[in-house]
Amino acid sequence: MTSLKRSFETDPLSSNISSKVYVRSTKRGKVQKIVREVYLRQDIPCSSQICSICRSTAPSNAAGVVSPFVLSDKPAGTKAFPQGHYLVPDTNALLNAMDLFEQTSAFYDVIILQTVLEELRNRSLPLYNRLIGLTKSEDKRFYVFFNEFRLETYVAREQDESINDRNDRAVRRAVQWYNEHLAQTKSKQRPTVVMLTDDRSNLEKAKAEKVPASTLRNYVSGLEEADRLLDMIAESQERGVSRDKKAVDFLYPEYYSMSKMMTGIKNGMLHQGIFNVSPYNYLEGSIKVPAFPKALLVLGRDNINRAVDGDVVVVEVLPKDRWKEPSTKIIEEEAVTKNENADGDEGEDLVTEKEKRALQEEVKKTHSTSTEGHPQPTAKVVGIIKRNWRQYVGHVDQSSVSQPAKQGRKQETVFLIPMDKKVPKIRIRTRQVGELLGKRILVTIDSWDRESRYPIGHFVRSLGELESKAAETEALLLEYDVQYRPFPKTVLDCLPREGHDWKVPPSTADPGWKDREDLRGLLICSIDPVGCQDIDDALHARALPNGNFEVGVHIADVSHFVKPSNAMDTEASIRGTTVYLVDKRIDMLPMLLGTDLCSLKPYVERYAFSVIWEVNEAADIVNVRFTKSVIKSREAFSYEQAQLRIDDASQQDDLTKGMRTLLMLSKKLKQKRMDAGALSLSSPEVKVQMESETSDPIDVKTKELLDTNSLVEEFMLLANISVAGKIYEAFPQTAILRRHGAPPKTNFDELSNQLKVKRGLELRVDSSRALADSLDECVDPHDPFFNTLIRVMATRCMMSAEYFCAGTQAYPEFRHYGLASEIYTHFTSPIRRYADLVAHRQLAAAIDYEPMHPAVRSRGRLEAVCKNINVRHRNAQLAGRASIAYYVGQALKGRVAEEEGFVMKIFSNGFVVLVPRFGIESLIRLRDLAEPEPESTFDAENYTLKTSGSREVTVELFQKVVVRISDAKDEATGKRGAKMELVRTV
């Protein structure tokens, strides 16, 4: 009987084989023990260009390409390391100061150890991804050294050694090896390999083992620009050193443990959701949880317990005696906590006296107003599942800065006031207060400890002077997470080589012509806003012999140029949409495509994707077909030009006739849509007029709507609906569609109550049809704008439309509520929306033009794309609106205008006025009415606010008022905006 057992010692390979054993727990809480083989080798290069030993063993990939050596032969030196140095950061250094490593002024030639990379991946996936991005950048010279696979640097965990200690030892061992290895080269100037760590015991051990090491802070102090860079080191790590001896009073209650929260959620005692802060009251948050139809309120600092807007939190419902009405009061952080000292925290109560008073008053109000508004359930935050901290733009609070710091280089703790009012002030420590004052700056939050009233963050970079156009625009883009950096080279490489000289191939035998219909003979034209360069769509119509009409919508064939899954496609899918600001456009696709090759410019031949219908006199569709085509647009009209041409009876050419046909049909289409219950919603839209040369805003106009606007819109809707049907039929699981959910009735509760109380009108919300009809009835004979006002307010009660993948919803859920269409998608603007591009690819596959690319077929991937573009779409809208608001402010600069406005919302100490002329809404607080603040009585049931004392006015909801608008800088946010004063009520 032979024994199967064999001793590993006899195996010649045994010294090269190790195994990695670790334990992980699955989502269900099951614990798994994983054993992995590890093959240790000696041919992993050091990747330093001075090393000749590693050259011979450098690995190559399957194509035989040897990866180039990364680390420079002449790395930068510092005072401490005049011979030059390579850096080896440990995990904490990367966790705390990733921003530093991304600097362009320093931190070159960095060796990232595998140990560190693995640890970083466990700790923070976003940081890991940023680091991977860095290693791919050629000029930063980051090299990943797989120390765990190299025989000499592999470290086995010892008995009773903690995993952290082992990892620290592995890092030291690798640094030591690197130094020894580089010593073997003959180079005269031999760089030192330096470990960067803030762990004290690790430093001491390094000293004992003679491994060159430094703390991050010491290292950075030795660099040029030390002051600027020092600010970027995360705050929390140092505090650990300076504070641990003091006994601190905790200001906030402790979070529950993760397992306690999980159990609580499972048995329904706790609830998880996304925390939202009210835009009018920074001490009031709400959280929507699946268990209840209405959002739970979270009131006061104590209950909010360090949650920041957007975090995923766990809440516990408070006992009934602590339920409250939502606040009818405006509370702005700035006003309440104006004079706090950024430095001192100790000895203060969590809730300041003033905040307490503000709260007391509210309670009083709740108790006195007997009824109607029932107290709502409130909750408190007991834990955070996931922080959604991003980088925040703001400015340094002038008042938190001490005088001497403005000149000196003393380190100072100051408050940063974020632009976003929903985010609390952030404490940062900096040595360059003097320079940062009056600038827009970017910071991140590092932590928020129990003993600190405000979150602690660190400076990332300065965007420029407050109110300068460049800084404000960049701030806006950062706030809305718009990708505005220029396209990287890899993306530009995907463009056609011919550049602007690209033309539709003259020979129809060219592969580009394959399966394309030649529609160059049709009289096609495009109608767009003035100055539009990225022309997505063009139209034509002609009468057919049988009395019907042929109508064609031709869309730029972007999918011909952007192939799935290449760098350009990936970039576009991340950007998701083109963002239009008043003075700037941030493109989704490179300029060459967007404004030239894809754009359906007049007089030139272009590739297009055409939807062609045959419709009868009543605008009913007889049939529809889809085809790739080549077109030649005869003219690019602006809406006004098109309108003039149609109205001009002397124009009798075929093109104009075609346009008249289109207009006639579009009116019928619109009528049909309205009959089906489509909503005509409204949002106050204005346009900023700019001076042509300086592009300074000079005036604000409300947008005019012409018949031609609606002409184009109707046919685009029709095309989108037709395409949606087709791709859904072909790909019932993966078609990309757009839906607009019916809003829950409770959304309209407030508005319909307001209408009933104030105007005796009834709002029916059973279906979109009923809503459309009852909105039509909401008119005030004396005031044509009243109807628009109600529409604006109704729009805000709606859900937002979203992209989704057909397989994720049941067919009835596909419905587009606003358009009253069963199915809908976006197809008509592929230059500026990624969803349209995906729809193009799917349609091309549906008509057998090209095979379906796997990326467009994989449902998981499409779902991820939908999720991203939904967010991007929303952000782009918000950014566009913010940009208009900024320019409206600029246009009003130095002017005072008296305008009519309408009261939209009413609080016990102020009200919100919408001025249609400028499309702005602003808050007027009681204390703005007169000095001293007038007494007031607020009748919540009748939405009436009466003031007495220093000024006597009565303000009601929906009331018309005259306000004086002047521009003012909002000290709190540093934004310039319109400031309104009440002149009189009408």
């Binding site: 032979t2 992995r36 083989e37 399957a62 290693t135």
Partner: protein, 274 residues
Amino acid sequence: MPLDTSTYNLALLRVDGRRWNELRRLHGQIRTQAAADGSSYLEMGNTKVMCIVTGPSEDKRKTGGGSTSSASVASAPNAADVSVGVVVAGFSSVDRKKRSRSDKRIQELQATISKALAGSLHTHLFPRSTISISLNVLSQDGSLLAALINAAALALVDAGIPMTDYLVACTAGSTSSYAANDDAADPLLDLNTQEETELPGLTVATVGATDKIAVLVCESRVQVGRLEGMMAVAADGCKQVREILDEVVRQQGARMIKEGTVAKSENVGGMDLD
């Protein structure tokens, strides 16, 4: 938790420290079970399998209602049945899981192995008999089918059943997933579990060191363009496997001569057994 397969491009190293064209440690033993007609034990990395061959033995004609415990192929009426049974031990994977023999995946494994072996064995020499191969999976870490085929080949050599050449098998994969559609993806040789779950892969068995393919199993989606590279790498891996298995057999032969179990006769005189 260690890194995943996406880091390959950072330093051309796989999750376990191998290069793209390296096999895991392959260890084989032959005649591990003296009482059996033929037996072997094989490790490919942490995938460990055992094989016992019984027969060729007289056929017990089945009387209808064939059992599901093993797959057998009767290639011709006058040839031996090759019946293969695979047993996966409950403790062989990370999660303890009992797999019944009627499990579809196991049945498929059995059928694949059985068909492939029937092609390389000289079954016509043993009419109306059965060669029964039982395979036991002790530990799983990827490339299971390949390991089973290799173990069976060794045990059949031990049992002395005539064959054209060893049936040797190996897996190959590609460094980026199907959806990533990266044209520059490297092919990978000999996948472990992690790679098998994250990346596309296929199993190839060849007859000896030739390019004759006996088994080709691909259960994941992969672009056609990448397939050729993966097949080439797998075929190359099979050649390496064949050399290692051959060495195992030769050592066993040398040992047997030394122990006097077999005489160094004229029949094997042509072979260099040292």
